[in-house]
Symmetry: D2
Subunit: 121 residues, 4 copies
């Protein structure tokens, strides 16, 4: 059965990234500072797909397979570097994500924030 | 049993993010353009943890729990927006990641690239 | 007479940045890699002022002095690091900017591109 | 006499950018949100020149004309979008930069900070 979001754990994806790096003896380049730079670089390439585009246009993107394919490719680049960062620093990403969601639930209680904009400072 | 990278599928994490957004009626703000902006903004906050830091210093970060905790928090912010982007556009992240790793394996065959730097243009 | 865009050359601004750094013996931290990271970090702080904001709202920003003030402050942070990069590498920014505009004029001849979107790949 | 950092005021550079945009009827695309995105995108392209590079290597960049040329081109892209942002919002960049330097002088008094790292939080 092919792997997808319904049957694959993050540990497996980290293992796939680590195998790719070890086959090429590239883990030594993947120090945290350069990985953080790489995550920024790839997220900017993802953002570039939306440069000059109006919000109304982006609502049509999900109906355009070639647009969705490009977004998948750039998102994958961002995520692969995040998985490598987790590998380098022994970080459990599931725990990190669920703890942050819990933190956000307390910071933005649903009773007070329902429908109101998430204010950025 | 608590959830971690060894027992949690990505679909569950996307569901957690979606639940958080729906409880607050916030899915309407999470259009792809603003999500791409958010991924950039959060990846820059992650990069800020390494600003002015030499590579040798970053090698010690994994032994410093307070540094690792800050990195976990910023990585989580990047990943939560990526999960929201997958939710908005019905993207299977596992498929996207594994396809990109396969693409990279062909682009950088291990026989030719073992030990040599991954050149960026 | 106070300094402004009508009477100040870039060389003066680079000198102001260099003086600030030398008084604090900080030029040694301003190597090109960390400066490039800093320009990314500050540009993301500028972008954060527009996170979740619709285009129609941003058209009102120029009439809101507090919004313009915040944008000025973040733009200044981006520019100060660019000026420091020019100082570190002896780059003439005026020449770089004018050469790039000339390059863009040839790449996007006005006869063909008038009114049509600047396509990003 | 050719224009350079010693004889060109910023107002002239803003005028050059504005002329380029008006000849192509492109000012309408240059709203502040998309300009902020563009500054991020270009700063990541600049950062990419330093991806995987050690600090010691970057110290040699200033002696390598092809490296300096690439840095000039990417810096120019960042700066052109900053000049366009100033044009769109009627911001005086010289004033913004000098005010920020004054603010930083008070925040980091030279008597206390000489030689000590500029700590980022």
């Amino acid at each position: 059965m092919s792997k997808n979001d319904g049957n694959t754990v993050i540990r497996q994806l980290i293992a796939n990234v680590r195998e790719f790096l070890r086959e090429r003896d590239w883990e030594k380049y993947h120090n945290p500072k350069d990985l953080a730079e790489s995550i920024c670089i790839e997220s900017a390439e993802l953002l570039q797909l939306f440069q000059w585009v109006k919000h109304e246009e982006t609502e049509q993107f999900k109906n355009d397979p070639s647009k969705v394919q490009r977004i998948k490719e750039e998102l994958a680049d961002v995520l692969i570097y995040c998985l490598s960062m987790a590998n380098t620093l022994n970080i459990d990403l599931t725990t990190a994500i669920l703890e942050k969601i819990e933190h956000n639930k307390k910071k933005y209680p649903k009773e007070r924030y329902k429908g109101k904009a998430w204010l950025n400072t």
